[in-house]
C-alpha cells in the first residue's frame, strides 16, 4: 500500500515540482507509515521505481527508443537502451529507498520501541 501511495504521490507532484521532491515524498510517507527499516526502504525503492518506470515507458515506447539508444551510447552502454533504463530507474529507486529508510528512522516512537524491545 505504502508503495502505491509513494508512486502515485510522486507521479503527481514530480510532474510540476523539482525532481528531488521524490526524496521528500518517500521520506514523509515512511515517516508517517511507521514500517520497519527494511520495509520502509523497500516501499521507497519500489514506489519511486514504479513512478519512474511508468513515466519512462510512456516516453520511450512512442519514441521507438531513439532517445534511449542515443543516451545509452552517450553513457558508454553501447546502444543497450534497456540497461540504460534500468540504471536510470535504479538511481531513482535507490534514492527513494534511502529516503524511505531515513524517514522511518525519524519516525522516533517506532524506532525506539522496536529497538528497545530488541534491547530487552
Amino acid at each position: 500500500m505504502t508503495i502505491f501511495i509513494i508512486a502515485v504521490l510522486n507521479s503527481i507532484l514530480e510532474s510540476f515540482l523539482p525532481w528531488w521532491i521524490l526524496v521528500i515524498i518517500s521520506f514523509v510517507v515512511c515517516l508517517i507509515a511507521r514500517l520497519s527499516s527494511l520495509k520502509s526502504f523497500f516501499a521507497g525503492f519500489m514506489g519511486i521505481f514504479l513512478s519512474w518506470f511508468i513515466a519512462i515507458l510512456l516516453k520511450d515506447i512512442p519514441n521507438h527508443h531513439l532517445l534511449s539508444t542515443k543516451l545509452s551510447n552517450l553513457f558508454q552502454l553501447k546502444g543497450n537502451y534497456i540497461l540504460f533504463i534500468i540504471i536510470n530507474l535504479l538511481l531513482g529507486a535507490l534514492l527513494g529507498g534511502l529516503s524511505g529508510w531515513c524517514g522511518c528512522l525519524f519516525s522516533s516512537t517506532n524506532n525506539l520501541s522496536t529497538n528497545s524491545k530488541v534491547g530487552e
Binding site: 525532481w19 528531488w20 531513482g92 534491547g119
Partner: protein, 818 residues
C-alpha cells in the same frame, strides 16, 4: 538507563548521518559537474532528458500567437518540411524565426556563440583559444557594422525584428523541461535572441567562406623557395576553366523577361568595355613575373558546384538549375528546408537557422544558387607600434593613436580572460606579442577584411526571394558584398546567368597576395570596384553556365585579384555539360553524384608509366594490376581509390617535404594540379631532388620510392574499402559521438564532383527544372529536426549518401500538402 540513552544517541546519530548523506547525494545529483550534467536532474523522467523524447508537431498547425497580425497556417510534410502560409511578410518571417528556434535553437545559439567568441562562457577554458581567435578576427565588430547598415534600411530592419521576435517568442515559452537536450546536458540556459546575433550568423558564413587566406603561407613559401616559388605557386595554371570564360562572355539575347532596353545596352557596354581594356600591354604586364596569382586549394578546403542549362541543352527545352554547396557536414545540418508563402511571395529552399529568408532556392519565376568565389578579400599588413602599450602606431609618416578594445572573455568556473586588441587605420591588429602568428613571432599584423565592412546581404536575399526576372536578380545581388559568391541564375522565362558577385578592392598587380609592409593610406584599399561591373554572363552561346570554385575570369582579365581556386571539378563538369546531348533531370542527379576522380585520371597514368621499372613481388603486382584497371571512379567499394590516395599523398611528401622543412605545419602543398603539371613536364624539375641526400633524385626515383612505400602503407588498410577509408562523417556540433553519424557509406571525395570528404561535402543538392508546374528536387545530409531523439534528426542521410532525391512540394495553397 544509560544504555538506553546511549542507544538513543546512537540512533539519532545514525539517522542524522543518513539524512546528511541523503541531502549530500541530492545536492551532488542536482548540480553540474565539469562536462557532466547533474545526473538526478538530467535523468528525472518528468523534466530531464526523457522530456525530449516527444513528438514534435502536428502536421497541420494554425499559429495565432499575439504578435502575429493574422493567423498563420503551417503544413509540415512527411519530412517535417514546413510550408508556411502567412497573410503578410511580418508574420511570415516571425514564423520562420519561431520554427528555426523550435527545431534548431541550440545550433543557432552555439553557432552565434562561436562566432562571437563566447564558447568558454559555457564550455570552460578548453575553448579559450577559439574565443580569442574569433574576438581578434573582429567578428563582432563586423557584425555590428553590418547591423548598422541593415538597420538603416527600413525593410531589412523590419525583417530582422520580425525574425528576432519569432525566435524570442519560442525561447520565452521554454522551461527547463522543454529545453533542447543539449542545454540540459551542457548545463546552460538559452538566452534571448538579438538582431546582432542574426548579423553574427551572416558573418559566421562570411568567415567560413572568405576567412581563409594564404597571405602568410605564400610569404613563407616565397622566402624559402626562391626561384621555385613561381613554379609551385604560379599565377595561373596551364589549364583553366574560368567561371566567366573569356570567349563566351557575351550578353545573349534576352528572352521573355520584360526589361527595359536601356539596361541591356548598359550591360552590353560594360561587357564590351571589359574586352576593350585588354590591350596588348596589359597582357604583357599580366604575364610578367611579378604578377603572381595563387590557385592553391587547402587540402580540406570546402568547395561547391552550381550550373544552369538553357533550353537548348535540355530535353524539355526549359532551363534546369543545379546547386550543391559543400560545407561542413555537421549535425544538426547547416540548412533548414522551408517554403514561405505570403500574398506577394512564394519561395522554397534552404535557410540558415539563425537568419531570415531563403538562402538557396526558387520561386515561381526564378531559381538561384551559390558557390564560393574564393577571391582574396582579406589582407594582412605588418604594423609598427611605438611601444608595448600598442597605443600608437606609425603610419602616414607619423604616430597615430590606435583604439584599444579590451575583450573580456568569460570562462566557466574561472576568472575572465582579458585580451587587448588594437584597432587601426590598417585594420584590426589580430596578431601581436600576446597572440603571435606562428612562424612570424615578434611581429604585429593588422588585418583588413571585407567582412568587417558594413553590408546588407539580408537585403540581397530578401530581394532575391521575390525576384521575377534577370533584372530583379541583378538588382538583388548587388547588395551581396561578402563573402564572394558565384551566384547562378535561371528563370522560367528561359534565361540563365552567372555573376561572380561581391565587393572588391581595385587592387594593383600582386596587391594583397602576400603579407605587406605599407606606410601610407593610398596603399590600402583606396577604391572599390563597382559591383555592377563584376564578371558575369547571361545566356552564353555554349548553353550553360557553371562554377566550381575555379578561377573567376581568364588570365586576360585586366582587373587584378588572387584567391584559392581549384580547377578539377570545373574541368569535369565542363566536360560533362559540353557533351552534345540534351539533358534531363536524371542526368543532373547523376552529375551531382558523379564520382569520377578528375585529378586521379590525369596523374595516375603518368606515375603508372614508370611501372616497368618497379621491382614487383606478389603483393605489389596485385596492387599495380588493380590500379591499371581502375576507371578512376571513387565508388564506395573501390580499393584503387585508396591506393591512389595513399600514393599521391606519399608522392607529395617526397616532392615537397625536404624543401618545406620546418615550415611544413604552416604550409600547404601546392595545388594538386601544379603537381600534375610538374609530373607532365618533360623537363626534370629540381624540386624532385631530395635536398637532404647527396645524390640527385629524379622524377622516376621519387615515383619508384613512393610506389613501394604506398604498397607498405596500403597493406595496413587493405581490409578497408574507399568509404571506410575516407570516413565521411556527420559530427554533432558538440562532438559527442553518440549524437554523430560515423563512416557514412558514400563514394566521391575531395576534388570530386560528389565532394564527400571526411568532414565536408554536398550540404544541399538542389535541382530546379522550369517546367510548368516547376519540377524541383532536393536533399541534404541530416533532417529537419535538431532534436537527437526525433525520427527527423538524420532521416535523410542514407538517401543522401545513395544519391537519392526528394521531389520538393512546391505548394500554392495549404491543401497542396498531403
Amino acid at each position: 538507563m544509560n544504555e538506553y540513552i546511549c542507544r538513543f544517541t546512537l540512533i539519532s546519530l545514525k539517522k542524522f548521518f543518513l539524512l546528511f548523506v541523503l541531502v549530500l547525494i541530492v545536492y551532488c545529483l542536482n548540480r553540474n559537474w565539469s562536462g557532466m550534467p547533474g545526473l538526478g536532474k538530467f535523468l528525472d523522467p518528468y523534466h530531464g532528458c526523457w522530456q525530449n523524447a516527444k513528438s514534435e508537431t502536428e502536421p497541420k498547425v494554425i499559429y495565432s500567437m499575439k504578435p502575429l497580425l493574422k493567423p498563420v497556417e503551417v503544413r509540415f510534410d512527411d519530412r517535417l518540411v514546413p510550408h508556411v502560409f502567412a497573410k503578410n511578410s511580418h508574420d511570415l518571417i516571425f514564423i520562420q524565426g519561431f520554427l528555426h528556434a523550435k527545431f534548431r535553437l541550440w545550433q543557432m545559439d552555439m553557432t552565434t556563440r562561436l562566432a562571437s567568441g563566447r564558447l568558454s562562457e559555457i564550455v570552460g577554458s578548453k575553448t579559450l583559444s577559439i574565443d580569442r581567435e574569433m574576438r581578434r578576427k573582429g567578428m563582432v565588430y563586423g557584425a555590428e557594422n553590418s547591423l548598422k547598415t541593415m538597420e538603416a534600411d527600413q525593410e531589412s530592419k523590419q525583417t530582422l525584428e520580425a525574425y528576432c521576435d519569432g525566435v524570442n517568442y519560442f525561447i520565452q515559452s521554454l522551461r527547463y523541461k522543454s529545453y533542447p537536450l543539449e542545454y540540459k546536458l551542457m548545463g546552460f540556459e538559452p538566452e534571448l535572441w538579438t538582431n546582432l546575433k542574426t548579423s553574427l550568423m551572416i558573418k559566421f558564413m562570411a568567415d567560413k567562406l572568405s576567412g581563409r587566406t594564404q597571405d602568410f603561407e605564400l610569404t613563407l613559401a616565397r622566402k624559402i623557395l626562391g626561384d621555385q616559388f613561381n613554379i609551385l605557386y604560379p599565377e595561373h595554371l596551364d589549364e583553366e576553366y574560368p567561371v566567366i570564360p573569356e570567349n563566351d562572355n557575351i550578353i545573349g539575347t534576352h528572352s521573355n523577361d520584360k526589361i527595359d532596353l536601356k539596361n541591356i545596352e548598359e550591360i552590353s557596354f560594360k561587357s564590351k568595355n571589359f574586352n576593350r581594356v585588354k590591350t596588348q600591354d596589359n597582357i604583357k604586364e599580366m604575364t610578367s613575373s611579378n604578377n603572381i596569382e595563387s590557385h592553391n586549394e587547402p587540402k580540406n578546403g570546402i568547395g561547391s558546384n552550381n550550373w544552369a542549362l538553357d533550353g537548348t541543352k535540355t530535353q524539355s527545352g526549359k532551363p534546369i538549375l543545379c546547386n550543391d554547396p559543400h560545407l561542413p557536414l555537421n549535425l544538426p545540418a547547416i540548412w533548414y528546408e522551408n517554403q514561405l508563402v505570403s500574398p506577394d511571395l512564394n519561395v522554397y529552399g534552404v535557410s540558415l537557422p539563425g537568419a531570415p529568408q531563403v538562402v538557396i532556392g526558387f520561386n515561381d519565376s526564378i531559381a538561384w544558387g551559390f558557390t564560393n568565389g574564393y577571391r582574396d578579400v582579406k589582407d594582412f599588413y605588418t604594423i609598427q607600434f611605438k611601444d608595448k602599450s600598442k597605443k600608437e602606431y606609425f603610419f602616414d609618416g607619423q604616430y597615430l593613436p590606435s583604439k584599444l578594445k579590451i575583450e573580456s572573455i568569460k570562462i566557466k568556473g574561472e576568472n575572465d580572460f582579458l585580451d587587448t586588441v588594437a584597432y587601426t587605420k590598417l585594420g584590426i591588429v589580430m596578431y601581436d606579442d600576446s597572440y603571435p602568428k606562428k612562424g612570424f613571432e615578434g611581429q604585429n599584423f593588422a588585418m583588413n577584411w571585407m567582412a568587417h565592412k558594413g553590408s546588407d546581404e539580408l537585403k540581397a536575399l530578401t530581394n532575391l526571394n521575390r525576384s521575377k526576372n534577370y533584372n530583379e536578380y541583378i538588382n538583388s545581388i548587388k547588395y551581396f558584398h561578402c563573402p564572394h559568391q558565384n551566384i547562378v541564375f535561371a528563370s522560367a522565362s528561359g534565361d540563365i546567368a552567372m555573376w561572380s558577385q561581391g565587393l572588391f578592392a581595385n587592387k594593383k598587380q600582386g596587391q594583397g597576395r602576400f603579407v605587406e609592409e605599407i606606410n601610407h593610406t593610398d596603399q590600402l584599399w583606396t577604391n572599390m570596384l563597382s559591383v555592377e561591373n563584376n564578371p558575369h554572363e547571361l545566356n552564353p552561346k555554349r548553353g550553360f553556365v557553371m562554377s566550381a570554385n575555379q578561377v573567376n575570369t581568364s588570365h586576360n582579365d585586366p582587373i587584378y585579384y588572387n584567391g584559392i581556386f581549384s580547377e578539377e571539378r570545373a574541368k569535369r563538369i565542363t566536360n560533362m555539360l559540353s557533351e552534345k546531348k540534351k539533358f534531363n533531370v536524371q542526368d543532373m542527379m547523376i552529375m551531382q553524384n558523379d564520382k569520377y576522380w578528375q585529378n586521379a585520371s590525369e596523374i595516375l597514368p603518368l606515375i603508372l608509366s614508370y611501372s616497368n621499372l618497379y621491382d614487383l613481388n606478389k603483393t605489389s603486382n596485385t596492387i599495380l594490376q588493380e590500379l591499371k584497371t581502375w576507371n578512376y571512379v571513387a565508388t564506395t567499394e573501390s580499393r584503387a581509390a585508396i591506393m591512389y590516395d595513399i600514393w599521391f599523398n606519399i608522392l607529395e611528401r617526397k616532392i615537397y617535404d625536404d624543401e618545406f622543412g620546418k615550415y611544413l605545419p604552416s604550409l600547404n602543398y601546392p595545388n594538386e594540379r601544379v603537381t600534375l603539371q610538374l609530373l607532365q613536364s618533360k623537363n626534370e624539375s629540381i624540386i624532385f631532388d631530395n635536398i637532404l641526400t647527396t645524390q640527385r633524385e629524379t622524377k622516376a626515383n621519387i615515383i619508384l620510392q613512393s610506389f613501394s612505400e604506398m604498397v607498405t602503407e596500403y597493406e595496413k588498410v587493405k581490409h578497408k574499402t574507399w568509404y571506410q577509408y575516407k570516413n565521411t562523417s556527420a559530427e554533432h556540433l558538440s562532438k559527442i559521438p553518440a549524437f554523430s553519424v560515423p563512416t557514412i557509406k558514400i563514394g566521391g571525395g575531395h576534388g570530386i564532383v560528389n565532394a564527400a570528404s571526411a568532414k565536408d561535402g554536398p550540404s544541399w543538392r538542389m535541382i530546379v527544372h522550369f517546367t510548368n508546374p516547376i519540377e524541383a528536387y532536393g536533399i541534404y545530409p541530416g533532417g529537419e529536426s535538431g532534436n537527437i531523439a526525433s525520427p527527423h534528426y538524420i532521416n535523410m542521410i542514407d538517401d543522401w549518401a545513395n544519391g537519392k532525391y526528394y521531389r520538393l512540394n512546391f505548394a500554392h495553397q495549404p491543401n497542396d500538402i498531403p
